[in-house]
Subunit: 279 residues, 2 copies
Protein backbone atom coordinates (compact mmCIF):
# COMPACT_ATOMS: atom_id res chain seq x y z
CA UNK A 1 0.00 0.00 0.00
CA UNK A 2 1.26 3.44 -0.90
CA UNK A 3 2.05 5.58 2.14
CA UNK A 4 0.12 8.78 2.77
CA UNK A 5 2.40 11.80 2.43
CA UNK A 6 1.84 14.28 5.26
CA UNK A 7 3.50 17.66 4.94
CA UNK A 8 3.87 19.53 8.22
CA UNK A 9 4.39 23.25 7.73
CA UNK A 10 6.19 24.63 10.81
CA UNK A 11 8.18 22.39 13.14
CA UNK A 12 7.63 24.09 16.51
CA UNK A 13 6.10 22.43 19.56
CA UNK A 14 2.86 21.46 17.79
CA UNK A 15 4.24 20.58 14.35
CA UNK A 16 7.36 18.93 15.71
CA UNK A 17 5.37 16.81 18.14
CA UNK A 18 2.96 15.78 15.38
CA UNK A 19 5.89 14.69 13.18
CA UNK A 20 7.42 12.76 16.07
CA UNK A 21 4.08 11.11 16.86
CA UNK A 22 3.46 10.10 13.24
CA UNK A 23 6.89 8.49 13.04
CA UNK A 24 6.29 6.73 16.35
CA UNK A 25 2.74 5.50 15.84
CA UNK A 26 2.25 5.51 12.06
CA UNK A 27 5.64 4.75 10.60
CA UNK A 28 4.31 2.19 8.11
CA UNK A 29 1.38 4.28 7.03
CA UNK A 30 2.75 7.81 6.72
CA UNK A 31 5.58 9.47 4.87
CA UNK A 32 6.37 12.60 6.88
CA UNK A 33 7.70 15.75 5.21
CA UNK A 34 8.69 18.89 7.10
CA UNK A 35 8.53 22.40 5.62
CA UNK A 36 10.10 25.08 7.76
CA UNK A 37 12.00 28.35 7.41
CA UNK A 38 15.44 27.28 8.54
CA UNK A 39 17.76 24.53 7.38
CA UNK A 40 18.88 24.18 11.03
CA UNK A 41 15.41 23.05 12.01
CA UNK A 42 15.27 20.61 9.08
CA UNK A 43 18.55 19.09 10.22
CA UNK A 44 17.41 18.93 13.86
CA UNK A 45 14.16 17.20 12.90
CA UNK A 46 16.04 14.73 10.70
CA UNK A 47 18.52 13.96 13.46
CA UNK A 48 15.63 13.21 15.81
CA UNK A 49 14.14 11.01 13.05
CA UNK A 50 10.92 13.00 13.23
CA UNK A 51 10.71 13.54 9.44
CA UNK A 52 11.54 11.49 6.37
CA UNK A 53 12.28 14.57 4.27
CA UNK A 54 12.67 18.24 5.09
CA UNK A 55 12.67 21.44 3.04
CA UNK A 56 12.75 25.19 3.36
CA UNK A 57 11.09 25.68 -0.06
CA UNK A 58 7.42 24.92 -0.73
CA UNK A 59 7.80 23.41 -4.20
CA UNK A 60 9.81 20.27 -3.43
CA UNK A 61 8.09 19.84 -0.07
CA UNK A 62 4.52 19.91 -1.36
CA UNK A 63 4.59 18.18 -4.76
CA UNK A 64 3.45 14.76 -3.48
CA UNK A 65 1.36 15.95 -0.54
CA UNK A 66 -1.80 14.03 0.34
CA UNK A 67 -2.41 16.08 3.48
CA UNK A 68 -0.88 19.36 4.61
CA UNK A 69 -0.98 20.40 8.27
CA UNK A 70 -0.40 24.12 8.85
CA UNK A 71 1.36 24.52 12.20
CA UNK A 72 2.70 28.06 11.81
CA UNK A 73 1.59 31.23 13.60
CA UNK A 74 -2.18 31.64 14.05
CA UNK A 75 -2.45 34.98 12.28
CA UNK A 76 -0.72 33.62 9.15
CA UNK A 77 -2.78 30.46 8.64
CA UNK A 78 -5.10 31.75 5.89
CA UNK A 79 -2.20 33.44 4.13
CA UNK A 80 -0.09 30.28 4.26
CA UNK A 81 -3.01 28.18 3.03
CA UNK A 82 -3.30 30.44 0.00
CA UNK A 83 0.44 30.35 -0.57
CA UNK A 84 0.84 26.57 -0.47
CA UNK A 85 -2.25 26.11 -2.67
CA UNK A 86 -0.08 26.89 -5.67
CA UNK A 87 2.23 23.95 -4.99
CA UNK A 88 -0.02 21.09 -3.86
CA UNK A 89 -1.63 18.43 -6.05
CA UNK A 90 -5.32 18.86 -6.94
CA UNK A 91 -7.59 17.63 -4.13
CA UNK A 92 -4.90 17.62 -1.45
CA UNK A 93 -6.42 18.01 2.02
CA UNK A 94 -5.26 21.04 4.00
CA UNK A 95 -5.80 21.48 7.73
CA UNK A 96 -4.44 23.62 10.57
CA UNK A 97 -3.96 23.58 14.35
CA UNK A 98 -5.10 27.10 15.28
CA UNK A 99 -6.79 27.82 18.63
CA UNK A 100 -9.52 29.96 17.06
CA UNK A 101 -11.63 28.53 14.26
CA UNK A 102 -14.39 30.94 13.23
CA UNK A 103 -12.09 33.66 11.99
CA UNK A 104 -9.57 31.26 10.42
CA UNK A 105 -12.12 29.12 8.57
CA UNK A 106 -13.80 32.28 7.25
CA UNK A 107 -10.46 33.70 6.13
CA UNK A 108 -9.48 30.47 4.36
CA UNK A 109 -12.86 30.37 2.65
CA UNK A 110 -12.32 33.93 1.51
CA UNK A 111 -8.86 33.00 0.19
CA UNK A 112 -10.60 30.62 -2.27
CA UNK A 113 -8.13 27.75 -2.52
CA UNK A 114 -7.98 26.34 -6.05
CA UNK A 115 -6.59 22.90 -5.29
CA UNK A 116 -6.68 22.34 -1.53
CA UNK A 117 -9.66 20.92 0.38
CA UNK A 118 -9.58 22.70 3.71
CA UNK A 119 -10.94 21.67 7.07
CA UNK A 120 -9.98 23.38 10.33
CA UNK A 121 -8.70 21.49 13.35
CA UNK A 122 -7.41 22.30 16.82
CA UNK A 123 -5.52 19.91 19.10
CA UNK A 124 -6.11 20.84 22.76
CA UNK A 125 -2.51 20.17 23.69
CA UNK A 126 0.69 22.11 24.18
CA UNK A 127 1.65 24.54 26.88
CA UNK A 128 3.29 27.90 27.42
CA UNK A 129 6.52 26.26 26.25
CA UNK A 130 7.25 26.59 22.56
CA UNK A 131 9.70 25.26 20.02
CA UNK A 132 10.79 21.88 18.71
CA UNK A 133 13.00 21.34 21.76
CA UNK A 134 9.88 20.82 23.92
CA UNK A 135 8.20 18.55 21.38
CA UNK A 136 7.14 15.03 22.28
CA UNK A 137 5.66 12.10 20.36
CA UNK A 138 3.21 11.61 23.23
CA UNK A 139 1.85 15.17 23.32
CA UNK A 140 -1.46 14.18 21.73
CA UNK A 141 -2.14 10.99 23.67
CA UNK A 142 -5.58 11.34 25.20
CA UNK A 143 -5.87 14.98 24.12
CA UNK A 144 -9.05 16.28 22.47
CA UNK A 145 -8.68 17.37 18.85
CA UNK A 146 -11.50 19.45 17.42
CA UNK A 147 -12.26 19.10 13.72
CA UNK A 148 -14.50 21.92 12.51
CA UNK A 149 -16.19 21.30 9.16
CA UNK A 150 -18.52 23.85 7.58
CA UNK A 151 -21.23 23.40 4.94
CA UNK A 152 -18.61 23.53 2.19
CA UNK A 153 -16.22 20.99 3.70
CA UNK A 154 -15.66 17.77 1.78
CA UNK A 155 -16.29 14.60 3.77
CA UNK A 156 -13.00 13.18 2.53
CA UNK A 157 -11.13 16.02 4.22
CA UNK A 158 -12.77 15.34 7.60
CA UNK A 159 -12.11 11.62 7.24
CA UNK A 160 -8.41 12.05 6.46
CA UNK A 161 -7.80 14.59 9.24
CA UNK A 162 -9.68 12.43 11.70
CA UNK A 163 -7.57 9.39 10.83
CA UNK A 164 -4.38 11.42 11.25
CA UNK A 165 -5.18 12.60 14.77
CA UNK A 166 -6.61 9.29 15.89
CA UNK A 167 -3.35 7.66 14.86
CA UNK A 168 -1.40 9.80 17.34
CA UNK A 169 -3.74 8.97 20.22
CA UNK A 170 -6.17 11.90 20.21
CA UNK A 171 -9.90 11.86 20.92
CA UNK A 172 -11.83 13.51 18.07
CA UNK A 173 -14.54 16.09 18.60
CA UNK A 174 -16.47 17.30 15.55
CA UNK A 175 -17.97 20.77 15.99
CA UNK A 176 -18.78 23.80 13.88
CA UNK A 177 -16.18 26.59 14.04
CA UNK A 178 -18.62 28.61 16.14
CA UNK A 179 -19.30 25.77 18.59
CA UNK A 180 -15.58 25.20 18.87
CA UNK A 181 -14.89 28.85 19.60
CA UNK A 182 -17.56 28.94 22.28
CA UNK A 183 -16.29 25.77 23.94
CA UNK A 184 -12.60 26.73 24.02
CA UNK A 185 -13.54 30.21 25.23
CA UNK A 186 -14.81 28.38 28.33
CA UNK A 187 -12.20 25.66 28.75
CA UNK A 188 -9.07 27.49 27.59
CA UNK A 189 -9.44 31.22 26.92
CA UNK A 190 -11.26 32.06 30.16
CA UNK A 191 -8.73 30.08 32.27
CA UNK A 192 -5.96 32.01 30.53
CA UNK A 193 -7.54 35.37 31.38
CA UNK A 194 -7.89 34.19 34.99
CA UNK A 195 -4.23 33.14 35.06
CA UNK A 196 -3.19 36.49 33.57
CA UNK A 197 -5.16 38.44 36.14
CA UNK A 198 -4.03 36.35 39.12
CA UNK A 199 -0.36 36.52 38.12
CA UNK A 200 -0.49 40.24 37.41
CA UNK A 201 -2.18 40.97 40.73
CA UNK A 202 0.28 39.10 42.95
CA UNK A 203 3.04 41.19 44.56
CA UNK A 204 6.44 39.83 43.48
CA UNK A 205 7.61 39.09 47.04
CA UNK A 206 4.48 37.03 47.70
CA UNK A 207 4.97 35.10 44.47
CA UNK A 208 8.31 33.94 45.86
CA UNK A 209 6.67 32.31 48.90
CA UNK A 210 3.76 30.77 47.01
CA UNK A 211 3.13 27.04 46.87
CA UNK A 212 2.54 24.64 44.00
CA UNK A 213 -1.15 25.60 43.76
CA UNK A 214 -0.41 29.17 42.77
CA UNK A 215 2.29 27.99 40.38
CA UNK A 216 -0.08 25.55 38.66
CA UNK A 217 -2.76 28.20 38.39
CA UNK A 218 -0.55 30.83 36.81
CA UNK A 219 1.66 28.68 34.57
CA UNK A 220 -0.44 29.77 31.58
CA UNK A 221 0.38 33.41 32.31
CA UNK A 222 3.72 32.69 30.63
CA UNK A 223 2.02 32.09 27.27
CA UNK A 224 3.12 34.02 24.20
CA UNK A 225 1.69 37.60 24.40
CA UNK A 226 1.36 38.14 20.64
CA UNK A 227 -0.48 34.84 20.18
CA UNK A 228 -2.80 35.52 23.08
CA UNK A 229 -3.76 39.04 22.11
CA UNK A 230 -4.66 37.53 18.73
CA UNK A 231 -6.70 34.71 20.27
CA UNK A 232 -8.54 37.01 22.68
CA UNK A 233 -9.30 39.53 19.96
CA UNK A 234 -10.44 37.07 17.30
CA UNK A 235 -12.62 35.14 19.73
CA UNK A 236 -13.71 38.21 21.65
CA UNK A 237 -17.47 37.76 21.77
CA UNK A 238 -17.34 34.18 23.06
CA UNK A 239 -14.57 35.05 25.54
CA UNK A 240 -16.55 38.04 26.85
CA UNK A 241 -19.63 35.88 27.29
CA UNK A 242 -17.70 33.43 29.48
CA UNK A 243 -15.89 36.24 31.32
CA UNK A 244 -19.28 37.61 32.34
CA UNK A 245 -20.55 34.19 33.38
CA UNK A 246 -17.42 33.72 35.46
CA UNK A 247 -17.73 37.11 37.13
CA UNK A 248 -21.29 36.27 38.19
CA UNK A 249 -20.14 32.89 39.44
CA UNK A 250 -17.18 34.26 41.33
CA UNK A 251 -19.49 36.78 43.02
CA UNK A 252 -21.50 33.85 44.36
CA UNK A 253 -18.37 32.35 45.91
CA UNK A 254 -17.50 35.77 47.29
CA UNK A 255 -20.89 35.76 48.99
CA UNK A 256 -20.42 32.21 50.28
CA UNK A 257 -17.18 33.28 51.97
CA UNK A 258 -18.79 36.45 53.32
CA UNK A 259 -21.78 34.74 54.87
CA UNK A 260 -21.14 32.89 58.10
CA UNK A 261 -22.94 29.66 57.18
CA UNK A 262 -20.38 26.90 57.17
CA UNK A 263 -23.06 24.50 55.95
CA UNK A 264 -23.73 26.25 52.64
CA UNK A 265 -19.99 26.61 52.10
CA UNK A 266 -19.36 22.91 52.73
CA UNK A 267 -22.24 22.01 50.44
CA UNK A 268 -20.81 24.10 47.60
CA UNK A 269 -17.30 22.74 48.19
CA UNK A 270 -18.52 19.15 48.21
CA UNK A 271 -20.48 19.60 45.00
CA UNK A 272 -17.50 21.21 43.30
CA UNK A 273 -15.10 18.56 44.49
CA UNK A 274 -17.36 15.75 43.32
CA UNK A 275 -17.58 17.31 39.89
CA UNK A 276 -13.86 17.92 39.49
CA UNK A 277 -12.86 14.48 40.80
CA UNK A 278 -14.66 12.88 37.87
CA UNK A 279 -12.25 14.48 35.43
CA UNK B 1 25.57 13.56 70.94
CA UNK B 2 22.10 12.68 72.13
CA UNK B 3 19.52 12.60 69.35
CA UNK B 4 16.60 15.05 69.38
CA UNK B 5 13.32 13.19 69.84
CA UNK B 6 10.65 14.46 67.46
CA UNK B 7 7.12 13.27 68.04
CA UNK B 8 4.86 13.62 65.01
CA UNK B 9 1.17 13.57 65.93
CA UNK B 10 -0.80 12.41 62.89
CA UNK B 11 0.80 10.46 60.05
CA UNK B 12 -1.16 11.69 57.03
CA UNK B 13 0.36 13.37 53.98
CA UNK B 14 2.01 16.16 55.96
CA UNK B 15 3.06 14.22 59.08
CA UNK B 16 4.04 11.11 57.14
CA UNK B 17 6.16 13.11 54.71
CA UNK B 18 7.86 14.95 57.56
CA UNK B 19 8.71 11.64 59.24
CA UNK B 20 10.04 10.25 55.95
CA UNK B 21 12.09 13.40 55.35
CA UNK B 22 13.59 13.37 58.85
CA UNK B 23 14.65 9.76 58.43
CA UNK B 24 16.10 10.54 55.00
CA UNK B 25 17.93 13.79 55.75
CA UNK B 26 18.42 13.76 59.54
CA UNK B 27 18.82 10.11 60.49
CA UNK B 28 21.81 10.74 62.74
CA UNK B 29 20.33 13.75 64.44
CA UNK B 30 16.70 12.86 65.06
CA UNK B 31 14.82 10.08 66.77
CA UNK B 32 11.41 10.00 65.12
CA UNK B 33 8.31 8.91 67.03
CA UNK B 34 4.85 8.64 65.48
CA UNK B 35 1.62 9.09 67.42
CA UNK B 36 -1.51 8.21 65.49
CA UNK B 37 -4.96 6.77 66.06
CA UNK B 38 -4.58 3.41 64.41
CA UNK B 39 -2.11 0.57 64.88
CA UNK B 40 -2.37 -0.09 61.12
CA UNK B 41 -0.83 3.31 60.42
CA UNK B 42 1.91 2.70 62.98
CA UNK B 43 2.76 -0.59 61.27
CA UNK B 44 2.68 1.01 57.80
CA UNK B 45 4.99 3.83 58.90
CA UNK B 46 7.38 1.35 60.50
CA UNK B 47 7.42 -0.83 57.40
CA UNK B 48 8.34 2.22 55.32
CA UNK B 49 11.05 3.00 57.91
CA UNK B 50 9.59 6.47 58.39
CA UNK B 51 9.52 6.24 62.21
CA UNK B 52 11.75 4.72 64.87
CA UNK B 53 8.86 4.13 67.25
CA UNK B 54 5.10 4.37 66.89
CA UNK B 55 2.20 4.54 69.35
CA UNK B 56 -1.53 5.03 69.54
CA UNK B 57 -1.37 6.25 73.16
CA UNK B 58 0.04 9.67 74.15
CA UNK B 59 1.86 8.63 77.32
CA UNK B 60 4.55 6.32 75.90
CA UNK B 61 4.84 8.40 72.73
CA UNK B 62 5.48 11.72 74.44
CA UNK B 63 7.54 10.96 77.52
CA UNK B 64 10.93 11.77 75.94
CA UNK B 65 9.75 14.38 73.44
CA UNK B 66 12.03 17.34 72.69
CA UNK B 67 9.77 18.64 69.95
CA UNK B 68 6.18 17.75 69.10
CA UNK B 69 4.74 18.49 65.64
CA UNK B 70 0.95 18.52 65.52
CA UNK B 71 -0.11 17.32 62.05
CA UNK B 72 -3.74 16.45 62.77
CA UNK B 73 -6.90 18.23 61.56
CA UNK B 74 -6.76 22.03 61.63
CA UNK B 75 -9.78 22.54 63.87
CA UNK B 76 -8.36 20.22 66.54
CA UNK B 77 -4.88 21.73 66.87
CA UNK B 78 -5.47 23.81 70.02
CA UNK B 79 -7.37 20.96 71.62
CA UNK B 80 -4.62 18.47 70.83
CA UNK B 81 -1.96 20.87 72.10
CA UNK B 82 -3.78 21.05 75.43
CA UNK B 83 -4.21 17.29 75.53
CA UNK B 84 -0.59 16.39 74.87
CA UNK B 85 0.61 19.05 77.33
CA UNK B 86 -0.14 16.62 80.16
CA UNK B 87 2.29 14.04 78.81
CA UNK B 88 5.32 15.99 77.56
CA UNK B 89 8.45 16.91 79.56
CA UNK B 90 8.70 20.47 80.93
CA UNK B 91 9.95 22.91 78.25
CA UNK B 92 9.22 20.63 75.31
CA UNK B 93 8.66 22.65 72.11
CA UNK B 94 5.28 22.20 70.43
CA UNK B 95 4.51 23.31 66.88
CA UNK B 96 1.88 22.67 64.22
CA UNK B 97 1.40 22.70 60.43
CA UNK B 98 -1.99 24.43 60.14
CA UNK B 99 -2.82 26.65 57.14
CA UNK B 100 -4.30 29.42 59.29
CA UNK B 101 -2.26 30.90 62.10
CA UNK B 102 -4.08 33.82 63.78
CA UNK B 103 -6.96 31.74 65.11
CA UNK B 104 -4.80 28.74 66.01
CA UNK B 105 -2.10 30.69 67.84
CA UNK B 106 -4.77 32.59 69.77
CA UNK B 107 -6.56 29.35 70.67
CA UNK B 108 -3.34 27.71 71.85
CA UNK B 109 -2.51 30.77 73.93
CA UNK B 110 -5.97 30.58 75.46
CA UNK B 111 -5.45 26.89 76.22
CA UNK B 112 -2.56 27.92 78.56
CA UNK B 113 -0.10 25.07 78.11
CA UNK B 114 1.68 24.23 81.38
CA UNK B 115 4.74 22.51 80.00
CA UNK B 116 4.86 23.02 76.22
CA UNK B 117 6.50 25.99 74.52
CA UNK B 118 4.35 26.62 71.46
CA UNK B 119 5.20 28.28 68.17
CA UNK B 120 2.99 28.03 65.09
CA UNK B 121 4.30 26.92 61.69
CA UNK B 122 2.90 26.24 58.24
CA UNK B 123 4.69 24.37 55.46
CA UNK B 124 3.44 25.57 52.05
CA UNK B 125 3.44 22.06 50.62
CA UNK B 126 1.00 19.27 50.05
CA UNK B 127 -1.85 19.02 47.60
CA UNK B 128 -5.48 17.96 47.33
CA UNK B 129 -4.23 14.40 47.87
CA UNK B 130 -4.25 13.23 51.47
CA UNK B 131 -3.02 10.29 53.50
CA UNK B 132 0.26 8.57 54.19
CA UNK B 133 0.10 6.75 50.84
CA UNK B 134 0.84 10.03 49.02
CA UNK B 135 3.63 11.00 51.42
CA UNK B 136 7.14 11.67 50.18
CA UNK B 137 10.46 12.46 51.85
CA UNK B 138 11.00 15.19 49.25
CA UNK B 139 7.72 17.03 49.80
CA UNK B 140 9.38 19.93 51.62
CA UNK B 141 12.39 20.40 49.37
CA UNK B 142 12.42 24.04 48.32
CA UNK B 143 9.00 24.70 49.90
CA UNK B 144 8.41 27.76 52.06
CA UNK B 145 7.70 27.06 55.72
CA UNK B 146 6.27 29.92 57.75
CA UNK B 147 7.15 30.12 61.43
CA UNK B 148 4.88 32.55 63.27
CA UNK B 149 6.15 33.67 66.69
CA UNK B 150 4.19 36.07 68.84
CA UNK B 151 5.34 38.30 71.71
CA UNK B 152 5.14 35.38 74.12
CA UNK B 153 7.07 32.90 72.01
CA UNK B 154 10.38 31.64 73.42
CA UNK B 155 13.37 32.07 71.09
CA UNK B 156 14.37 28.50 71.72
CA UNK B 157 11.09 27.30 70.22
CA UNK B 158 11.63 29.26 67.01
CA UNK B 159 15.22 28.04 66.78
CA UNK B 160 14.30 24.37 67.17
CA UNK B 161 11.41 24.49 64.71
CA UNK B 162 13.54 26.37 62.21
CA UNK B 163 16.28 23.77 62.42
CA UNK B 164 13.75 20.99 61.91
CA UNK B 165 12.31 22.39 58.70
CA UNK B 166 15.66 23.49 57.32
CA UNK B 167 16.87 19.94 57.73
CA UNK B 168 14.19 18.65 55.35
CA UNK B 169 15.02 21.22 52.68
CA UNK B 170 12.52 24.02 53.35
CA UNK B 171 13.06 27.78 53.10
CA UNK B 172 12.08 29.50 56.34
CA UNK B 173 9.90 32.60 56.49
CA UNK B 174 9.36 34.25 59.88
CA UNK B 175 6.15 36.27 60.10
CA UNK B 176 3.54 37.20 62.67
CA UNK B 177 0.37 35.07 62.58
CA UNK B 178 -1.46 38.03 61.07
CA UNK B 179 1.14 38.64 58.36
CA UNK B 180 1.09 34.93 57.56
CA UNK B 181 -2.68 34.87 57.26
CA UNK B 182 -2.66 37.87 54.97
CA UNK B 183 0.06 36.41 52.74
CA UNK B 184 -1.46 32.95 52.36
CA UNK B 185 -4.88 34.52 51.75
CA UNK B 186 -3.25 35.92 48.59
CA UNK B 187 -1.03 33.04 47.51
CA UNK B 188 -3.18 30.07 48.52
CA UNK B 189 -6.70 30.86 49.73
CA UNK B 190 -7.62 33.20 46.87
CA UNK B 191 -6.31 30.73 44.24
CA UNK B 192 -8.43 28.04 45.87
CA UNK B 193 -11.58 30.18 45.69
CA UNK B 194 -10.79 30.84 42.02
CA UNK B 195 -10.33 27.13 41.39
CA UNK B 196 -13.61 26.36 43.17
CA UNK B 197 -15.52 28.91 41.15
CA UNK B 198 -13.98 27.91 37.80
CA UNK B 199 -14.60 24.21 38.38
CA UNK B 200 -18.15 24.75 39.59
CA UNK B 201 -19.00 26.97 36.62
CA UNK B 202 -17.81 24.59 33.90
CA UNK B 203 -20.48 22.40 32.28
CA UNK B 204 -19.54 18.73 32.76
CA UNK B 205 -19.42 17.95 29.03
CA UNK B 206 -16.99 20.83 28.46
CA UNK B 207 -14.80 19.63 31.31
CA UNK B 208 -14.34 16.41 29.40
CA UNK B 209 -12.85 18.20 26.39
CA UNK B 210 -10.65 20.57 28.38
CA UNK B 211 -6.88 20.66 28.07
CA UNK B 212 -4.10 20.51 30.64
CA UNK B 213 -4.42 24.23 31.44
CA UNK B 214 -7.94 23.86 32.82
CA UNK B 215 -6.91 20.73 34.70
CA UNK B 216 -3.95 22.48 36.33
CA UNK B 217 -6.11 25.44 37.26
CA UNK B 218 -8.85 23.42 38.90
CA UNK B 219 -6.82 20.66 40.57
CA UNK B 220 -7.22 22.47 43.91
CA UNK B 221 -11.00 22.26 43.59
CA UNK B 222 -10.61 18.66 44.75
CA UNK B 223 -9.38 19.79 48.17
CA UNK B 224 -11.08 18.57 51.32
CA UNK B 225 -14.39 20.48 51.78
CA UNK B 226 -14.42 20.39 55.60
CA UNK B 227 -10.85 21.65 55.81
CA UNK B 228 -11.51 24.43 53.33
CA UNK B 229 -14.69 25.72 54.86
CA UNK B 230 -12.68 25.94 58.09
CA UNK B 231 -9.77 27.76 56.44
CA UNK B 232 -12.03 30.20 54.60
CA UNK B 233 -14.06 30.94 57.70
CA UNK B 234 -11.17 31.34 60.11
CA UNK B 235 -9.21 33.54 57.72
CA UNK B 236 -12.28 35.30 56.36
CA UNK B 237 -11.26 38.94 56.64
CA UNK B 238 -7.92 38.49 54.87
CA UNK B 239 -9.50 36.24 52.22
CA UNK B 240 -12.28 38.76 51.57
CA UNK B 241 -9.73 41.55 51.21
CA UNK B 242 -7.89 39.60 48.49
CA UNK B 243 -11.13 38.49 46.85
CA UNK B 244 -12.07 42.15 46.44
CA UNK B 245 -8.63 43.05 45.09
CA UNK B 246 -8.91 40.19 42.62
CA UNK B 247 -12.39 41.20 41.47
CA UNK B 248 -11.14 44.72 40.73
CA UNK B 249 -8.15 43.29 38.91
CA UNK B 250 -10.16 40.83 36.89
CA UNK B 251 -12.47 43.68 35.85
CA UNK B 252 -9.45 45.43 34.35
CA UNK B 253 -8.65 42.36 32.26
CA UNK B 254 -12.30 42.17 31.27
CA UNK B 255 -11.96 45.73 29.99
CA UNK B 256 -8.71 44.96 28.18
CA UNK B 257 -10.45 42.15 26.29
CA UNK B 258 -13.48 44.35 25.58
CA UNK B 259 -11.51 47.26 24.17
CA UNK B 260 -10.18 46.84 20.67
CA UNK B 261 -6.62 48.01 21.34
CA UNK B 262 -4.30 45.12 20.66
CA UNK B 263 -1.39 47.25 21.86
CA UNK B 264 -2.61 47.69 25.43
CA UNK B 265 -3.48 43.99 25.56
CA UNK B 266 -0.03 42.95 24.35
CA UNK B 267 1.58 45.33 26.82
CA UNK B 268 -0.36 43.84 29.74
CA UNK B 269 0.35 40.29 28.57
CA UNK B 270 4.07 40.97 28.21
CA UNK B 271 4.31 42.54 31.65
CA UNK B 272 2.45 39.62 33.21
CA UNK B 273 4.55 37.05 31.38
CA UNK B 274 7.79 38.72 32.42
CA UNK B 275 6.70 38.70 36.04
CA UNK B 276 5.58 35.07 36.09
CA UNK B 277 8.63 33.80 34.21
CA UNK B 278 10.83 34.96 37.10
CA UNK B 279 9.15 32.48 39.43
Amino acid sequence: MKKTTIVIVGLGLIGGSLAAALKKFGRKQFHVVGLTRSMTKVRQAKRKKWIDEGYTQPKPALRHADLVVLCGPLHLIAKTAKKIDAFIPQGCVVTDVGSVKGEICAAVKKAKLKKGLFVGAHPMAGSHLTGMAHGSADLYKGATVYITPTQNTKRLAVKKVKRLWQKVGAKIKIASPKEHDNQVAATSHLPHVIAFSLASLMPAQLMQVSGSGFRDMTRMAQSDPELWQYILRTNRSAVLKWIKTYERHFKQWHQLVTRSSSQSLVRALKKTRQKRVQL
